[in-house]
Amino acid sequence: MAEAAVVVRDAVKLYGGVVALDGVSLSIRDNEFFTLLGPSGCGKTTLLRLIAGFERLTSGAIALHGQDIADLPPDRRPVNTVFQHYALFPHMTVLDNVAFGLKMRGVGLAERRRRAGEMLEMVHLSGFAGRFPAQLSGGQQQRVALARALAPGPRVLLLDEPLSALDLKLRQAMRVELKTLQEETGITFIFVTHDQEEALTMSDRIAVMSAGRLQQVGAPREIYEEPVNRFVADFIGETNLVPVEVGAVAGGLAPVALPGGAVLQLAAAPGSEGRHHVSIRPERLRLAPSGAGQLSARVERIIYKGTDLQLVARMAGGGELHVRIQNTARADLPPPGAEVGLVLGEGAARLLAD
Protein backbone atom coordinates (compact mmCIF):
# COMPACT_ATOMS: atom_id res chain seq x y z
CA MET A 1 0.00 0.00 0.00
CA ALA A 2 1.22 3.49 -0.83
CA GLU A 3 2.33 5.90 1.89
CA ALA A 4 -0.52 7.80 3.59
CA ALA A 5 -0.80 11.41 2.41
CA VAL A 6 -3.15 12.59 5.15
CA VAL A 7 -3.92 10.88 8.43
CA VAL A 8 -6.70 12.20 10.64
CA ARG A 9 -6.97 10.73 14.12
CA ASP A 10 -9.95 11.17 16.50
CA ALA A 11 -10.73 14.61 15.08
CA VAL A 12 -13.25 16.51 17.16
CA LYS A 13 -14.45 20.01 16.33
CA LEU A 14 -16.91 21.95 18.46
CA TYR A 15 -18.42 25.33 17.56
CA GLY A 16 -19.61 26.67 20.88
CA GLY A 17 -21.73 23.76 22.06
CA VAL A 18 -22.40 22.38 18.58
CA VAL A 19 -20.54 19.25 17.51
CA ALA A 20 -19.36 19.57 13.89
CA LEU A 21 -16.97 16.61 13.94
CA ASP A 22 -17.45 13.81 16.41
CA GLY A 23 -14.30 11.70 16.47
CA VAL A 24 -13.30 11.13 12.85
CA SER A 25 -10.31 8.94 11.98
CA LEU A 26 -9.23 8.22 8.44
CA SER A 27 -6.19 7.69 6.31
CA ILE A 28 -5.96 9.11 2.78
CA ARG A 29 -3.41 7.46 0.49
CA ASP A 30 -0.90 9.22 -1.69
CA ASN A 31 -2.05 9.86 -5.31
CA GLU A 32 -5.61 9.07 -4.38
CA PHE A 33 -8.82 10.78 -5.50
CA PHE A 34 -10.60 10.78 -2.15
CA THR A 35 -14.12 12.14 -1.73
CA LEU A 36 -15.87 13.33 1.43
CA LEU A 37 -19.56 12.80 0.73
CA GLY A 38 -22.56 13.70 2.81
CA PRO A 39 -25.57 15.99 3.19
CA SER A 40 -25.05 19.60 4.23
CA GLY A 41 -24.09 19.93 7.88
CA CYS A 42 -22.51 16.46 8.02
CA GLY A 43 -19.04 17.88 8.79
CA LYS A 44 -17.36 17.28 5.42
CA THR A 45 -16.49 20.93 4.83
CA THR A 46 -15.33 21.31 8.43
CA LEU A 47 -12.96 18.39 7.93
CA LEU A 48 -11.61 19.98 4.72
CA ARG A 49 -11.12 23.35 6.45
CA LEU A 50 -9.27 21.59 9.28
CA ILE A 51 -6.88 20.00 6.78
CA ALA A 52 -6.41 23.38 5.03
CA GLY A 53 -5.77 25.10 8.37
CA PHE A 54 -8.70 27.54 8.35
CA GLU A 55 -10.06 25.92 11.52
CA ARG A 56 -8.37 24.57 14.63
CA LEU A 57 -9.12 21.09 15.99
CA THR A 58 -10.82 20.92 19.36
CA SER A 59 -8.99 17.64 19.92
CA GLY A 60 -7.32 14.95 17.83
CA ALA A 61 -4.48 15.07 15.32
CA ILE A 62 -3.86 15.69 11.61
CA ALA A 63 -0.66 14.57 9.90
CA LEU A 64 0.47 15.33 6.36
CA HIS A 65 3.01 12.86 4.97
CA GLY A 66 3.93 11.95 8.52
CA GLN A 67 4.31 15.53 9.77
CA ASP A 68 1.92 16.79 12.46
CA ILE A 69 0.26 19.91 11.00
CA ALA A 70 -2.57 20.48 13.49
CA ASP A 71 -0.96 23.67 14.86
CA LEU A 72 0.37 25.15 11.60
CA PRO A 73 -1.36 28.19 10.04
CA PRO A 74 -2.63 27.74 6.44
CA ASP A 75 0.35 29.55 4.90
CA ARG A 76 2.71 26.95 6.35
CA ARG A 77 0.88 23.86 5.08
CA PRO A 78 1.88 22.45 1.68
CA VAL A 79 -1.75 22.00 0.63
CA ASN A 80 -3.82 24.28 -1.59
CA THR A 81 -7.55 24.76 -1.93
CA VAL A 82 -10.08 25.25 -4.72
CA PHE A 83 -12.92 27.17 -3.10
CA GLN A 84 -16.62 26.64 -3.69
CA HIS A 85 -17.10 30.06 -5.27
CA TYR A 86 -13.48 30.10 -6.48
CA ALA A 87 -12.51 33.24 -4.48
CA LEU A 88 -10.45 34.55 -7.41
CA PHE A 89 -8.95 37.92 -6.47
CA PRO A 90 -11.17 40.35 -8.45
CA HIS A 91 -8.55 43.13 -8.63
CA MET A 92 -5.86 40.92 -10.21
CA THR A 93 -5.54 39.52 -13.71
CA VAL A 94 -5.86 35.80 -14.36
CA LEU A 95 -2.06 35.51 -14.62
CA ASP A 96 -1.48 37.38 -11.34
CA ASN A 97 -4.07 35.19 -9.65
CA VAL A 98 -2.33 32.02 -10.78
CA ALA A 99 1.13 33.41 -9.89
CA PHE A 100 0.05 34.62 -6.43
CA GLY A 101 1.09 31.50 -4.51
CA LEU A 102 4.49 31.43 -6.26
CA LYS A 103 5.01 35.12 -5.49
CA MET A 104 4.28 34.54 -1.80
CA ARG A 105 6.81 31.70 -1.84
CA GLY A 106 9.46 34.10 -3.15
CA VAL A 107 9.69 32.77 -6.72
CA GLY A 108 11.16 35.42 -9.06
CA LEU A 109 9.02 37.32 -11.56
CA ALA A 110 10.20 35.60 -14.76
CA GLU A 111 10.02 32.12 -13.26
CA ARG A 112 6.57 32.58 -11.76
CA ARG A 113 5.23 34.05 -15.02
CA ARG A 114 6.56 31.03 -16.86
CA ARG A 115 5.04 28.54 -14.43
CA ALA A 116 1.72 30.39 -14.23
CA GLY A 117 1.66 30.33 -18.05
CA GLU A 118 2.21 26.57 -18.01
CA MET A 119 -0.64 26.12 -15.53
CA LEU A 120 -2.97 28.17 -17.72
CA GLU A 121 -1.97 26.06 -20.69
CA MET A 122 -2.79 22.92 -18.71
CA VAL A 123 -6.35 24.17 -18.06
CA HIS A 124 -6.68 25.41 -21.68
CA LEU A 125 -6.83 29.13 -20.80
CA SER A 126 -3.58 30.42 -22.30
CA GLY A 127 -5.33 33.23 -24.17
CA PHE A 128 -6.94 34.61 -21.02
CA ALA A 129 -3.87 35.60 -18.95
CA GLY A 130 -4.56 39.34 -19.15
CA ARG A 131 -8.27 39.20 -18.32
CA PHE A 132 -9.88 39.89 -14.98
CA PRO A 133 -11.96 37.18 -13.25
CA ALA A 134 -15.22 39.11 -13.79
CA GLN A 135 -14.65 38.85 -17.56
CA LEU A 136 -14.67 35.03 -17.48
CA SER A 137 -17.53 32.53 -17.52
CA GLY A 138 -18.20 30.29 -14.53
CA GLY A 139 -16.43 27.34 -16.14
CA GLN A 140 -13.38 29.46 -16.98
CA GLN A 141 -13.23 30.86 -13.44
CA GLN A 142 -13.31 27.29 -12.18
CA ARG A 143 -10.29 26.43 -14.33
CA VAL A 144 -8.38 29.49 -13.15
CA ALA A 145 -9.09 28.48 -9.55
CA LEU A 146 -7.68 25.03 -10.33
CA ALA A 147 -4.59 26.48 -12.01
CA ARG A 148 -4.05 28.86 -9.10
CA ALA A 149 -4.24 26.06 -6.52
CA LEU A 150 -1.97 23.75 -8.54
CA ALA A 151 0.67 26.39 -9.42
CA PRO A 152 2.67 26.18 -6.17
CA GLY A 153 2.92 22.40 -6.66
CA PRO A 154 1.02 21.12 -3.61
CA ARG A 155 1.18 17.43 -2.71
CA VAL A 156 -2.43 17.51 -1.61
CA LEU A 157 -5.19 19.51 -3.34
CA LEU A 158 -8.39 20.27 -1.45
CA LEU A 159 -11.57 20.90 -3.45
CA ASP A 160 -14.64 22.32 -1.70
CA GLU A 161 -17.70 21.52 -3.86
CA PRO A 162 -15.99 23.15 -6.86
CA LEU A 163 -18.56 21.98 -9.40
CA SER A 164 -21.71 23.00 -7.54
CA ALA A 165 -21.93 26.44 -9.19
CA LEU A 166 -21.74 25.09 -12.74
CA ASP A 167 -24.62 23.98 -14.94
CA LEU A 168 -25.23 20.28 -15.61
CA LYS A 169 -23.41 19.85 -18.95
CA LEU A 170 -20.33 21.71 -17.77
CA ARG A 171 -20.37 19.83 -14.48
CA GLN A 172 -20.30 16.49 -16.29
CA ALA A 173 -17.44 17.61 -18.56
CA MET A 174 -15.46 18.93 -15.57
CA ARG A 175 -15.80 15.60 -13.74
CA VAL A 176 -13.90 13.83 -16.48
CA GLU A 177 -11.37 16.65 -16.70
CA LEU A 178 -10.72 16.71 -12.96
CA LYS A 179 -10.21 12.97 -12.84
CA THR A 180 -7.80 13.11 -15.80
CA LEU A 181 -5.91 15.99 -14.20
CA GLN A 182 -5.58 14.06 -10.96
CA GLU A 183 -4.24 10.99 -12.76
CA GLU A 184 -1.78 13.05 -14.82
CA THR A 185 -0.40 15.13 -11.96
CA GLY A 186 -0.37 12.32 -9.38
CA ILE A 187 -1.45 14.78 -6.71
CA THR A 188 -3.72 13.58 -3.91
CA PHE A 189 -7.16 15.15 -4.39
CA ILE A 190 -9.50 15.51 -1.42
CA PHE A 191 -12.87 16.40 -2.86
CA VAL A 192 -15.93 17.53 -0.91
CA THR A 193 -19.40 17.08 -2.38
CA HIS A 194 -23.01 16.34 -1.51
CA ASP A 195 -23.61 14.89 -5.00
CA GLN A 196 -23.40 11.10 -4.83
CA GLU A 197 -23.22 10.70 -8.60
CA GLU A 198 -20.21 13.04 -8.72
CA ALA A 199 -18.57 11.03 -5.95
CA LEU A 200 -19.19 7.67 -7.62
CA THR A 201 -17.89 8.86 -11.00
CA MET A 202 -14.58 10.38 -9.95
CA SER A 203 -13.37 8.85 -6.72
CA ASP A 204 -10.91 6.11 -5.94
CA ARG A 205 -12.42 5.99 -2.48
CA ILE A 206 -15.35 7.69 -0.82
CA ALA A 207 -15.95 8.54 2.83
CA VAL A 208 -19.67 8.88 3.55
CA MET A 209 -20.33 11.24 6.45
CA SER A 210 -23.37 12.06 8.52
CA ALA A 211 -23.85 14.02 11.74
CA GLY A 212 -20.12 14.62 12.19
CA ARG A 213 -19.21 10.94 11.92
CA LEU A 214 -17.82 8.64 9.26
CA GLN A 215 -20.45 6.15 8.17
CA GLN A 216 -18.44 4.13 5.65
CA VAL A 217 -15.16 4.43 3.75
CA GLY A 218 -14.61 2.44 0.58
CA ALA A 219 -14.39 2.25 -3.20
CA PRO A 220 -17.48 3.52 -5.11
CA ARG A 221 -18.57 -0.07 -5.89
CA GLU A 222 -18.30 -1.10 -2.23
CA ILE A 223 -20.26 1.93 -1.04
CA TYR A 224 -23.02 1.32 -3.56
CA GLU A 225 -23.19 -2.48 -3.46
CA GLU A 226 -22.35 -3.11 0.16
CA PRO A 227 -23.64 -0.22 2.26
CA VAL A 228 -22.98 -0.91 5.94
CA ASN A 229 -26.03 0.85 7.32
CA ARG A 230 -29.37 2.40 6.53
CA PHE A 231 -27.98 5.92 6.11
CA VAL A 232 -25.41 4.91 3.49
CA ALA A 233 -27.88 2.73 1.56
CA ASP A 234 -30.45 5.53 1.51
CA PHE A 235 -28.02 8.36 0.71
CA ILE A 236 -26.11 6.67 -2.12
CA GLY A 237 -28.34 6.13 -5.11
CA GLU A 238 -31.95 5.18 -4.78
CA THR A 239 -33.07 2.19 -2.75
CA ASN A 240 -36.06 0.39 -1.30
CA LEU A 241 -35.87 -0.11 2.45
CA VAL A 242 -38.02 -3.11 3.28
CA PRO A 243 -38.79 -4.04 6.92
CA VAL A 244 -37.87 -7.67 7.72
CA GLU A 245 -37.74 -10.13 10.59
CA VAL A 246 -34.29 -11.66 11.12
CA GLY A 247 -34.02 -15.16 12.61
CA ALA A 248 -31.14 -16.83 14.47
CA VAL A 249 -27.68 -15.98 13.04
CA ALA A 250 -25.48 -18.99 12.37
CA GLY A 251 -22.17 -19.03 10.48
CA GLY A 252 -22.58 -15.43 9.32
CA LEU A 253 -25.96 -16.14 7.77
CA ALA A 254 -29.51 -15.69 9.01
CA PRO A 255 -32.99 -16.43 7.70
CA VAL A 256 -34.64 -13.12 6.82
CA ALA A 257 -38.44 -13.06 6.47
CA LEU A 258 -39.79 -10.59 3.92
CA PRO A 259 -43.28 -9.10 4.18
CA GLY A 260 -45.51 -11.72 2.57
CA GLY A 261 -43.59 -14.61 4.06
CA ALA A 262 -40.74 -15.43 1.64
CA VAL A 263 -37.50 -16.19 3.49
CA LEU A 264 -34.01 -15.35 2.21
CA GLN A 265 -30.65 -16.46 3.60
CA LEU A 266 -28.61 -13.23 3.98
CA ALA A 267 -25.25 -12.31 5.46
CA ALA A 268 -25.82 -11.06 9.01
CA ALA A 269 -23.67 -9.93 11.92
CA PRO A 270 -23.96 -11.92 15.17
CA GLY A 271 -26.72 -10.54 17.38
CA SER A 272 -28.71 -8.92 14.59
CA GLU A 273 -31.86 -10.95 15.26
CA GLY A 274 -35.16 -9.06 15.34
CA ARG A 275 -36.74 -6.29 13.27
CA HIS A 276 -34.43 -4.70 10.69
CA HIS A 277 -34.43 -3.43 7.12
CA VAL A 278 -33.05 -4.82 3.90
CA SER A 279 -31.98 -2.57 1.06
CA ILE A 280 -33.11 -3.58 -2.43
CA ARG A 281 -31.90 -1.44 -5.33
CA PRO A 282 -34.74 -0.65 -7.83
CA GLU A 283 -32.69 -1.99 -10.76
CA ARG A 284 -32.30 -5.39 -9.01
CA LEU A 285 -36.04 -6.09 -8.93
CA ARG A 286 -37.69 -7.86 -11.84
CA LEU A 287 -41.38 -7.96 -12.67
CA ALA A 288 -43.09 -11.36 -12.72
CA PRO A 289 -46.68 -12.59 -12.99
CA SER A 290 -48.80 -12.39 -9.85
CA GLY A 291 -47.87 -15.13 -7.39
CA ALA A 292 -44.35 -15.60 -8.72
CA GLY A 293 -41.24 -14.12 -7.08
CA GLN A 294 -40.43 -13.41 -3.42
CA LEU A 295 -42.59 -10.25 -3.07
CA SER A 296 -46.06 -9.37 -4.24
CA ALA A 297 -47.46 -5.91 -4.76
CA ARG A 298 -50.08 -3.85 -6.58
CA VAL A 299 -48.94 -1.42 -9.31
CA GLU A 300 -49.79 2.19 -8.42
CA ARG A 301 -48.27 4.27 -11.19
CA ILE A 302 -45.53 4.33 -13.78
CA ILE A 303 -43.22 7.34 -14.03
CA TYR A 304 -41.57 8.10 -17.35
CA LYS A 305 -37.90 9.05 -16.86
CA GLY A 306 -36.46 8.90 -20.36
CA THR A 307 -33.78 6.20 -20.35
CA ASP A 308 -35.88 4.15 -17.97
CA LEU A 309 -39.26 3.89 -16.34
CA GLN A 310 -40.00 3.81 -12.66
CA LEU A 311 -42.78 1.55 -11.50
CA VAL A 312 -44.23 2.38 -8.11
CA ALA A 313 -45.95 -0.55 -6.41
CA ARG A 314 -47.45 -1.05 -2.96
CA MET A 315 -46.88 -4.23 -0.95
CA ALA A 316 -49.69 -5.94 0.91
CA GLY A 317 -48.27 -4.65 4.23
CA GLY A 318 -48.47 -1.03 3.00
CA GLY A 319 -44.82 -0.35 2.09
CA GLU A 320 -43.91 1.24 -1.25
CA LEU A 321 -41.52 -0.41 -3.72
CA HIS A 322 -39.76 1.26 -6.65
CA VAL A 323 -38.78 -0.88 -9.63
CA ARG A 324 -36.57 0.43 -12.44
CA ILE A 325 -37.39 -0.90 -15.90
CA GLN A 326 -35.39 -0.17 -19.04
CA ASN A 327 -37.38 1.87 -21.51
CA THR A 328 -37.21 -0.94 -24.13
CA ALA A 329 -39.64 -3.16 -22.18
CA ARG A 330 -42.41 -0.58 -22.30
CA ALA A 331 -44.92 -2.68 -24.22
CA ASP A 332 -45.29 -5.45 -21.59
CA LEU A 333 -45.93 -3.19 -18.61
CA PRO A 334 -48.79 -4.10 -16.28
CA PRO A 335 -51.48 -1.40 -15.98
CA PRO A 336 -51.97 0.49 -12.68
CA GLY A 337 -54.03 -1.60 -10.29
CA ALA A 338 -52.59 -4.91 -11.52
CA GLU A 339 -51.22 -7.42 -9.01
CA VAL A 340 -47.61 -8.38 -9.77
CA GLY A 341 -44.90 -10.55 -8.34
CA LEU A 342 -41.34 -9.25 -7.88
CA VAL A 343 -38.24 -11.38 -8.32
CA LEU A 344 -35.09 -10.50 -6.35
CA GLY A 345 -31.95 -11.18 -8.37
CA GLU A 346 -28.93 -12.87 -6.81
CA GLY A 347 -27.50 -10.60 -4.08
CA ALA A 348 -30.23 -7.99 -4.62
CA ALA A 349 -31.18 -7.71 -0.94
CA ARG A 350 -28.73 -6.59 1.72
CA LEU A 351 -29.42 -6.66 5.43
CA LEU A 352 -28.60 -3.32 7.05
CA ALA A 353 -27.54 -2.25 10.50
CA ASP A 354 -29.71 0.66 11.69
Binding site: A87, H91, F100, M104, P152
Partner: protein, 270 residues
Protein backbone atom coordinates in the same frame (compact mmCIF):
# COMPACT_ATOMS: atom_id res chain seq x y z
CA UNK B 1 -45.58 48.50 -6.16
CA UNK B 2 -46.90 50.64 -9.00
CA UNK B 3 -47.05 54.34 -8.24
CA UNK B 4 -46.47 53.73 -4.54
CA UNK B 5 -46.23 56.72 -2.24
CA UNK B 6 -46.78 59.20 -5.07
CA UNK B 7 -50.49 58.40 -5.10
CA UNK B 8 -51.15 59.28 -1.47
CA UNK B 9 -53.33 62.39 -1.25
CA UNK B 10 -51.32 65.53 -0.56
CA UNK B 11 -48.00 63.89 -1.46
CA UNK B 12 -47.04 66.58 -3.98
CA UNK B 13 -47.92 69.46 -1.67
CA UNK B 14 -46.04 68.03 1.33
CA UNK B 15 -43.01 67.15 -0.77
CA UNK B 16 -42.92 70.62 -2.30
CA UNK B 17 -43.21 72.25 1.14
CA UNK B 18 -40.38 70.15 2.60
CA UNK B 19 -38.11 70.80 -0.35
CA UNK B 20 -38.86 74.52 -0.17
CA UNK B 21 -38.09 74.75 3.56
CA UNK B 22 -34.87 72.76 3.11
CA UNK B 23 -33.46 74.26 -0.02
CA UNK B 24 -35.01 77.71 -0.59
CA UNK B 25 -32.78 79.44 2.01
CA UNK B 26 -29.70 77.80 0.47
CA UNK B 27 -30.86 78.89 -2.98
CA UNK B 28 -31.41 82.48 -1.79
CA UNK B 29 -27.93 82.61 -0.27
CA UNK B 30 -26.36 81.19 -3.44
CA UNK B 31 -28.23 83.64 -5.70
CA UNK B 32 -27.59 86.71 -3.54
CA UNK B 33 -23.88 85.91 -3.32
CA UNK B 34 -23.79 87.15 -6.92
CA UNK B 35 -25.62 90.38 -6.04
CA UNK B 36 -23.94 93.57 -7.27
CA UNK B 37 -25.49 95.67 -4.51
CA UNK B 38 -24.40 95.81 -0.86
CA UNK B 39 -27.92 95.10 0.26
CA UNK B 40 -28.75 91.55 1.25
CA UNK B 41 -32.40 91.91 0.26
CA UNK B 42 -32.53 93.99 -2.94
CA UNK B 43 -31.22 92.56 -6.21
CA UNK B 44 -28.80 94.92 -7.96
CA UNK B 45 -27.64 92.84 -10.91
CA UNK B 46 -25.11 90.02 -11.37
CA UNK B 47 -21.55 90.47 -10.12
CA UNK B 48 -18.49 88.56 -8.85
CA UNK B 49 -17.58 91.42 -6.47
CA UNK B 50 -18.25 89.52 -3.19
CA UNK B 51 -16.18 86.57 -4.34
CA UNK B 52 -13.34 88.96 -5.13
CA UNK B 53 -13.93 90.58 -1.74
CA UNK B 54 -13.51 87.21 0.01
CA UNK B 55 -10.07 86.76 -1.53
CA UNK B 56 -8.86 90.36 -1.66
CA UNK B 57 -11.05 92.44 0.67
CA UNK B 58 -10.26 93.61 4.21
CA UNK B 59 -11.31 90.30 5.77
CA UNK B 60 -9.31 88.16 3.28
CA UNK B 61 -6.32 87.37 5.58
CA UNK B 62 -8.67 86.22 8.32
CA UNK B 63 -10.65 84.00 5.97
CA UNK B 64 -7.49 82.61 4.39
CA UNK B 65 -6.02 81.61 7.76
CA UNK B 66 -9.33 80.07 8.83
CA UNK B 67 -9.66 78.15 5.55
CA UNK B 68 -6.11 76.81 5.93
CA UNK B 69 -6.89 75.60 9.46
CA UNK B 70 -10.15 74.05 8.33
CA UNK B 71 -8.64 72.18 5.42
CA UNK B 72 -5.55 70.89 7.25
CA UNK B 73 -7.59 69.82 10.29
CA UNK B 74 -10.15 68.10 8.05
CA UNK B 75 -7.38 66.31 6.14
CA UNK B 76 -5.58 65.08 9.26
CA UNK B 77 -8.75 64.26 11.19
CA UNK B 78 -10.24 62.32 8.26
CA UNK B 79 -6.99 60.38 7.72
CA UNK B 80 -6.49 59.39 11.37
CA UNK B 81 -10.22 58.66 11.87
CA UNK B 82 -10.31 56.47 8.74
CA UNK B 83 -7.26 54.48 9.86
CA UNK B 84 -8.92 53.86 13.23
CA UNK B 85 -12.22 53.04 11.49
CA UNK B 86 -10.56 50.42 9.27
CA UNK B 87 -8.98 48.72 12.28
CA UNK B 88 -12.32 48.83 14.13
CA UNK B 89 -14.23 47.48 11.12
CA UNK B 90 -11.85 44.54 10.64
CA UNK B 91 -12.13 43.72 14.33
CA UNK B 92 -15.92 44.02 14.33
CA UNK B 93 -16.74 42.32 11.04
CA UNK B 94 -14.04 39.64 10.85
CA UNK B 95 -13.65 38.43 14.41
CA UNK B 96 -16.91 36.50 14.67
CA UNK B 97 -18.82 36.82 17.91
CA UNK B 98 -17.24 38.13 21.05
CA UNK B 99 -18.51 39.36 24.39
CA UNK B 100 -19.60 42.96 24.26
CA UNK B 101 -19.80 43.18 20.47
CA UNK B 102 -23.11 45.07 20.49
CA UNK B 103 -21.81 47.36 23.21
CA UNK B 104 -18.70 48.04 21.14
CA UNK B 105 -20.78 48.92 18.09
CA UNK B 106 -22.94 51.26 20.21
CA UNK B 107 -19.78 52.90 21.52
CA UNK B 108 -18.39 53.42 18.02
CA UNK B 109 -21.59 55.01 16.75
CA UNK B 110 -22.29 56.99 19.93
CA UNK B 111 -21.16 60.35 18.46
CA UNK B 112 -23.92 60.00 15.85
CA UNK B 113 -26.59 59.96 18.55
CA UNK B 114 -25.30 62.09 21.42
CA UNK B 115 -26.36 65.76 21.04
CA UNK B 116 -23.34 67.61 19.72
CA UNK B 117 -23.55 70.28 22.37
CA UNK B 118 -23.13 67.60 25.07
CA UNK B 119 -20.03 66.22 23.35
CA UNK B 120 -18.74 69.79 23.00
CA UNK B 121 -19.11 70.58 26.70
CA UNK B 122 -17.70 67.20 27.74
CA UNK B 123 -14.71 67.57 25.42
CA UNK B 124 -13.98 71.06 26.72
CA UNK B 125 -14.15 69.87 30.35
CA UNK B 126 -11.90 66.91 29.46
CA UNK B 127 -9.24 69.11 27.84
CA UNK B 128 -9.20 71.62 30.69
CA UNK B 129 -9.02 68.76 33.24
CA UNK B 130 -5.94 67.26 31.64
CA UNK B 131 -4.50 70.73 31.16
CA UNK B 132 -4.39 70.83 27.36
CA UNK B 133 -4.36 74.42 26.10
CA UNK B 134 -7.22 75.04 23.62
CA UNK B 135 -5.88 75.50 20.09
CA UNK B 136 -5.15 73.67 16.86
CA UNK B 137 -4.33 70.38 18.62
CA UNK B 138 -7.50 70.29 20.73
CA UNK B 139 -9.63 70.93 17.63
CA UNK B 140 -7.81 68.14 15.78
CA UNK B 141 -8.26 65.61 18.60
CA UNK B 142 -11.96 66.47 18.95
CA UNK B 143 -12.49 66.19 15.19
CA UNK B 144 -10.75 62.80 14.98
CA UNK B 145 -13.08 61.54 17.70
CA UNK B 146 -16.37 62.54 16.13
CA UNK B 147 -15.22 61.62 12.59
CA UNK B 148 -14.63 57.93 13.47
CA UNK B 149 -18.25 56.75 13.13
CA UNK B 150 -18.68 58.57 9.82
CA UNK B 151 -15.59 56.83 8.42
CA UNK B 152 -16.53 53.53 10.11
CA UNK B 153 -19.96 53.04 8.55
CA UNK B 154 -18.97 52.92 4.84
CA UNK B 155 -15.86 50.84 5.62
CA UNK B 156 -17.81 48.30 7.71
CA UNK B 157 -20.59 48.11 5.10
CA UNK B 158 -18.04 47.43 2.39
CA UNK B 159 -16.16 44.87 4.50
CA UNK B 160 -19.25 42.85 5.32
CA UNK B 161 -19.83 42.52 1.57
CA UNK B 162 -16.36 41.00 0.98
CA UNK B 163 -16.34 37.19 1.08
CA UNK B 164 -13.90 36.00 3.80
CA UNK B 165 -12.86 33.31 1.28
CA UNK B 166 -10.63 35.92 -0.45
CA UNK B 167 -8.47 36.24 2.67
CA UNK B 168 -8.63 32.47 3.25
CA UNK B 169 -7.46 31.92 -0.35
CA UNK B 170 -4.54 34.30 0.18
CA UNK B 171 -3.51 32.55 3.41
CA UNK B 172 -3.87 29.20 1.64
CA UNK B 173 -1.50 30.49 -1.07
CA UNK B 174 1.23 31.18 1.51
CA UNK B 175 0.45 34.83 2.30
CA UNK B 176 1.08 35.87 5.91
CA UNK B 177 -1.69 37.68 7.80
CA UNK B 178 -0.09 41.01 6.95
CA UNK B 179 0.30 40.16 3.26
CA UNK B 180 -3.30 38.93 3.01
CA UNK B 181 -4.45 42.24 4.52
CA UNK B 182 -2.21 44.45 2.40
CA UNK B 183 -2.44 42.64 -0.95
CA UNK B 184 -6.04 41.38 -0.88
CA UNK B 185 -8.28 42.99 1.74
CA UNK B 186 -7.02 46.58 1.48
CA UNK B 187 -7.49 46.88 -2.33
CA UNK B 188 -10.95 45.33 -2.08
CA UNK B 189 -11.80 47.66 0.78
CA UNK B 190 -10.50 50.79 -1.03
CA UNK B 191 -13.87 52.14 -2.25
CA UNK B 192 -15.23 51.98 1.31
CA UNK B 193 -12.10 53.66 2.66
CA UNK B 194 -12.30 56.49 0.08
CA UNK B 195 -15.99 56.94 0.77
CA UNK B 196 -15.45 57.00 4.53
CA UNK B 197 -12.52 59.42 4.27
CA UNK B 198 -14.46 61.89 2.12
CA UNK B 199 -17.43 61.77 4.48
CA UNK B 200 -15.18 62.30 7.52
CA UNK B 201 -13.40 65.17 5.73
CA UNK B 202 -16.62 67.06 5.03
CA UNK B 203 -18.01 66.43 8.52
CA UNK B 204 -14.83 67.91 9.98
CA UNK B 205 -14.79 70.81 7.53
CA UNK B 206 -18.39 71.79 8.38
CA UNK B 207 -18.26 71.39 12.13
CA UNK B 208 -19.09 74.43 14.19
CA UNK B 209 -20.38 73.59 17.69
CA UNK B 210 -17.57 71.39 19.01
CA UNK B 211 -14.91 73.50 17.27
CA UNK B 212 -16.30 76.68 18.81
CA UNK B 213 -16.02 75.17 22.29
CA UNK B 214 -12.49 73.79 22.07
CA UNK B 215 -10.74 76.22 19.69
CA UNK B 216 -9.47 78.76 22.18
CA UNK B 217 -8.98 82.47 21.60
CA UNK B 218 -7.57 83.68 18.27
CA UNK B 219 -7.91 80.28 16.63
CA UNK B 220 -10.48 80.13 13.82
CA UNK B 221 -11.78 77.58 11.36
CA UNK B 222 -13.96 78.60 8.42
CA UNK B 223 -17.31 78.01 10.17
CA UNK B 224 -16.25 79.87 13.32
CA UNK B 225 -14.82 82.71 11.22
CA UNK B 226 -18.11 82.99 9.32
CA UNK B 227 -20.04 83.01 12.58
CA UNK B 228 -17.73 85.73 13.92
CA UNK B 229 -18.38 87.89 10.88
CA UNK B 230 -22.12 87.40 10.95
CA UNK B 231 -22.27 88.64 14.54
CA UNK B 232 -21.30 92.08 13.21
CA UNK B 233 -24.09 91.97 10.61
CA UNK B 234 -24.62 89.86 7.51
CA UNK B 235 -22.60 91.12 4.57
CA UNK B 236 -22.83 89.67 1.05
CA UNK B 237 -19.25 88.37 1.25
CA UNK B 238 -20.48 85.87 3.89
CA UNK B 239 -22.96 84.63 1.32
CA UNK B 240 -20.15 84.16 -1.18
CA UNK B 241 -17.99 82.20 1.26
CA UNK B 242 -20.99 80.12 2.39
CA UNK B 243 -21.80 79.31 -1.22
CA UNK B 244 -18.23 78.12 -1.80
CA UNK B 245 -18.36 75.95 1.32
CA UNK B 246 -21.68 74.54 0.12
CA UNK B 247 -20.18 73.72 -3.29
CA UNK B 248 -17.25 71.91 -1.68
CA UNK B 249 -19.62 69.94 0.58
CA UNK B 250 -21.84 68.88 -2.32
CA UNK B 251 -18.77 67.86 -4.32
CA UNK B 252 -17.33 65.70 -1.53
CA UNK B 253 -20.60 64.05 -0.59
CA UNK B 254 -21.18 63.23 -4.27
CA UNK B 255 -17.67 61.80 -4.60
CA UNK B 256 -18.18 59.73 -1.45
CA UNK B 257 -21.43 58.34 -2.84
CA UNK B 258 -19.83 57.59 -6.21
CA UNK B 259 -16.85 55.85 -4.58
CA UNK B 260 -19.19 53.62 -2.60
CA UNK B 261 -21.31 52.88 -5.64
CA UNK B 262 -18.62 52.00 -8.23
CA UNK B 263 -16.90 49.85 -5.64
CA UNK B 264 -20.04 47.89 -4.95
CA UNK B 265 -20.49 47.17 -8.64
CA UNK B 266 -16.90 45.96 -9.09
CA UNK B 267 -17.03 43.67 -6.04
CA UNK B 268 -20.34 42.04 -6.88
CA UNK B 269 -19.81 38.34 -7.59
CA UNK B 270 -20.26 37.54 -11.25
Amino acid sequence: MSGGVRHYPGFAAIAALCLAILYLPLGVVAVYSFNASTSITAWGGFSWRWYIDVFQGPEAPRFRAAAWNSVTIAFLAASVATAIAVAAAVAMVRSGRFRGKSATFALISLPLMVPEIVTAVATLIFFSTIGLTPGYLTILIAHITFCIPFAYLPVAARLSGIDPAFEAAARDLYASRGQAFRLILLPLLAPGIVSGWLLAFIISLDDFIITNFVKGAGMETLPTAIFGSVKQGIKPNIMAISTMLLAVSILFVTLSWLAGRTGRRAAAPS
